[in-house]
Homo-oligomer: 551 residues x 2
């Protein structure tokens, strides 16, 4: 273990849902926390109301709508004029094509990262060797794999993807509840427990093996990477210990994977089961262990090591669920949030963001890795979700609802907030493929990537990410330059390290425009890069000019 | 070699474009051919004018249009009522799901049966070992692989799918001419000659190896089969000898492949190059060798063996090319067709069909395999193509233009003429995916299958047929029962043997309705089979009643 300073005297305490760090017990008693800045609730609430006012303002809407239309038409012109020239550039690049540019699956859930056929084969394989192994403890009874399948009245040899029934179909459209139950193979929560959980009777051995098989396929493909989501629920403070123990013991690490922690927004369920007394406790369960491992890595070795491979946080759940509470700076503090109601989306986002920021500041000081905030956002539900994420997120997953607000869409364009889109997932859940805005967003210049979300539920072939790209390319008649631009975006917005990004995109990848592009690595035409850069500068200078003329 | 009677005295002679068989020289001199029936030109022309009148008749159009609408709505109802019941049936089937039902790629061209990445890898592999090998003779010069690439100013290591440039893109839409040139890797006919031809300086060795790699992948997948098209042009009578020699010498045989011979409709090119004096000569070059091998297998051993694996004929070319000639029984006979103009589609179809029929009758007598006629039809061009094929074809490829004629569509439904559809190919060439009628045809009950046409030009993943199924299933939200019905159709309409079909579909597969379906093999719900059968019987009995009431 490298030399990370230990600060055994440090004290941590949550206040108003945010963790504060104190040099020692004395500082704690005097309530003098260390300075680890984060935006306070008031600032956030004010900013939010600003943006909310802006997106509702008539003239602003018209302006943004027209600028976006202009961006769309301009790209169309660019395409007509430069399509062949871009293609010529790409043909001239030796040894690099769509197949060997790096692609990152920027949004994928670990518990659904294998396709249905893979899961089926895995279940059958385990049964061949492990039928007599105790794999489950239920109501005090220890059950072997054979007993589990006997109870389900089922012979694994006869199991099919039909009876497995994890694939989304027409029945799941606009039914997130039905979709969630697809995580239970054969509709049996026992099988989910045995095969898709890290914390179970067999210590998540099967789950780890499944993921490692997926990782092995990525490594074989060489050019594909993925950022699977693992869950931390906030039910208890031991979850982190258990998850990192599972990760280390099973050697789940893969050079082609980076990990994201998803926190489901299901406080209401834990509260009604009396697992937590208030919302602050849930936040504490999620964040306090991270502070402890940061301050005292020797005492939390496994978590400390695991965190090296974790690059960010995701916030997940059905966005179409409505919340009665209107979030403002008058909302109850997390310690006072004791009802069974679930806090609204913005409330979750602010508190996750604030804690991550404090944590990042602490970790930066100590030379440790930091975390991105990459919530699911704009898959469904209120447009305010996209406002909260605009103020807090490093990038978002889905972003479909940007369709509905020209102002937000333009803001996401100007700020180049990356968006990991999953049109096949949307097609099964919220929006038909042909209506998906990905192509339009890409053409206008928003920073979009392609991701699979849940291969188990949505994909058919062995190469889920390639299936996703193939369908987009076929259906939207994307050019090679288009798909390589998407692939480049996916690397940019991923949690891959600076060194890896230099290797995959070119040493100057942080520079704007063609200068930042190494066509020999990305296979994105310099003509395209120049177009994107000039267009963005143009939009920004318009705004600057407008502000100047106002003054 | 099994015991096939030799008839060394038999004489063959073409008359009016049809081959006649004579017992011996005497019968020939007395012009007394053996009785091998085929429909004469007059019958065909009269039938054709009947159908043409029918498809133009107002009341008939209205009737068929309404019946087709009814069939569409009826299926919609069926789906709403029985979807869950069908699914339940499928879930109850042990060990059978979409992944392990048999699927046949019913329409695929051998010269494009590998995907672009596969071809690229293959070229690079051959260069590693064979750089110094003479692979091409051009203008009297013998060239090594290295010299070929030097002349093209190219290092195979630097070759990419972009520079290979065999993939169809936006540039090929409605440009069949551009599409055809995509068969030339790097735009260089030399590479097509070396890698994608059976009859070249290296005796088609690379082409055979490529196809065998594709076959190997099919065999590995176990449940996938393909029916690749190999070309016979009719330029010279030696083509068959050469093709069968290539096939036998290179052991191209695979249990997962059955072969179809495609005859391009390019008489005009051969005539203008003075390779043939008239159209009859082209027909003779295509068919006479088959008669000879049928009559005297000992003398044509390789062709005789090759023909065991050939199950049919295809007629191919750009259907959107217009022909000035209006085919009728007054049209010049093939021997008189001496101009540079290309005969129209119907003229080709009739003469191929008539010769195949004579040949089949002869082969049946002798206990030999017979051939299906499976032309490309209705991909583009005149609606009359679909009329000719309705009168002659066992099944067709594409059939898109059935959209345009309710009467023909209804006839194809009533006669259950199988249609091998390739929506991804159409999407790049003639019709956007979302407008493809496959889903509509399937729902109405036409006998459609899915096929890839040209994986080299259209597909992205390693599993082209699965990509085709996946996209159709995703985009049209097909149920498992739908895709398994398509897979079953593909086996039914394929050239697989009766024994294989019994094995893949169930012993009673020739029976109508649920009786003919073994759900444990096909994974098609009996409810679906019953619905299809009852619906078809209902439509047919309507017609019978109408005819009765007329009398």
């Amino acid at each position: 273990m490298e030399n990370v300073p230990e600060n055994l005297n440090y004290q941590m305490k949550m206040k108003d849902g945010i963790i504060y760090v104190y040099e020692n017990a004395e500082a704690l008693s005097m309530n003098k926390p260390r300075c680890l800045p984060y935006p306070d609730l008031e600032t956030f609430a004010i900013d939010m109301s600003h943006v909310l006012a802006m997106i509702a303002d008539g003239p602003t809407k018209t302006y943004c709508h027209r600028r976006l239309n202009f961006l769309g038409s301009k790209f169309y012109l660019h395409e007509m004029l430069n399509e062949m020239a871009e293609l010529k550039e790409l043909k001239g690049v030796p040894h690099r094509d769509f197949y060997n540019v790096r692609k990152v699956d920027t949004h994928i859930h670990a518990a659904a990262c294998m396709n249905q056929k893979h899961l089926l084969d895995f279940i059958q394989t385990t049964y061949k060797t492990d039928a007599e192994r105790v794999v489950l403890e239920k109501a005090g009874l220890k059950l072997t794999l054979k007993q589990v399948f006997n109870n389900l009245n089922m012979d694994p040899y006869d199991l099919t993807v039909d009876s497995l029934d994890v694939h989304a179909g027409r029945q799941t459209f606009h039914r997130f509840d039905k979709f969630n139950s697809k995580y239970n193979p054969v509709g049996a929560s026992e099988l989910r427990e045995i095969y898709l959980k890290a914390d179970n009777y067999i210590n998540g051995e099967y789950f780890a093996r499944l993921i490692k098989e997926v990782a092995h396929n990525l490594e074989e493909s060489k050019y594909q990477h993925a950022e699977p989501r693992l869950s931390i629920y906030g039910r208890s403070p031991e979850e982190w210990e258990s998850l990192s123990h599972w990760f280390i013991q099973n050697k789940v690490y893969s050079p082609n994977m980076r990990w994201i922690i998803q926190v489901p927004r299901i406080y209401d369920i834990f509260r009604s089961r009396k697992l937590v007394p208030n919302f602050a406790k849930m936040l504490e369960n999620v964040f306090l262990p991270l502070f402890e491992a940061t301050v005292n890595p020797q005492k939390h070795k496994e978590l400390h090591v695991f965190l090296k491979y974790v690059t960010g946080f995701d916030s997940v759940d059905d966005e179409s669920k409505h919340s009665d509470h209107m979030f403002s700076y008058k909302s109850p503090k997390p310690e006072q949030w004791t009802t069974d109601d679930n806090p609204p989306y913005s409330y979750y986002l602010f508190h996750m963001y604030a804690n991550i920021m404090v944590l990042n500041n602490l970790r930066k000081e100590r030379g440790l890795s930091t975390f991105q905030f990459r919530p699911h956002c704009g898959e469904a539900g209120s447009i305010t979700h996209l406002v909260s994420a605009f103020l807090t997120a490093d990038n978002i997953s889905h972003g479909l609802n940007l369709k509905k607000s020209p102002v937000l869409q333009y803001l996401y364009y100007l700020a180049q907030v990356p968006i990991a889109m999953s049109p096949l997932s949307n097609n099964s859940l919220f929006l038909e493929y042909s209506k998906n805005p990905l192509r339009e967003f890409l053409h206008k210049g928003l920073c979009v990537s392609l991701s699979t979300d849940d291969p188990m539920q949505f994909h058919y072939t062995k190469e889920a990410l390639m299936e996703e790209y193939a369908i987009a390319a076929q259906l939207w008649k994307l050019s090679t330059c288009d798909v390589c631009e998407i692939a480049r975006n996916s690397v940019l917005q991923s949690g891959l390290s600076h060194e890896e990004k230099k290797h995959f995109l070119g040493v100057s990848y942080l520079k704007d425009g063609p200068e930042g592009n190494d066509i020999r690595r990305t296979n994105v035409a310099q003509i395209r890069m120049a177009y994107r850069h000039e267009t963005l500068c143009n939009e920004l200078s318009f705004l600057v000019d407008a502000v100047k003329s106002e003054v």
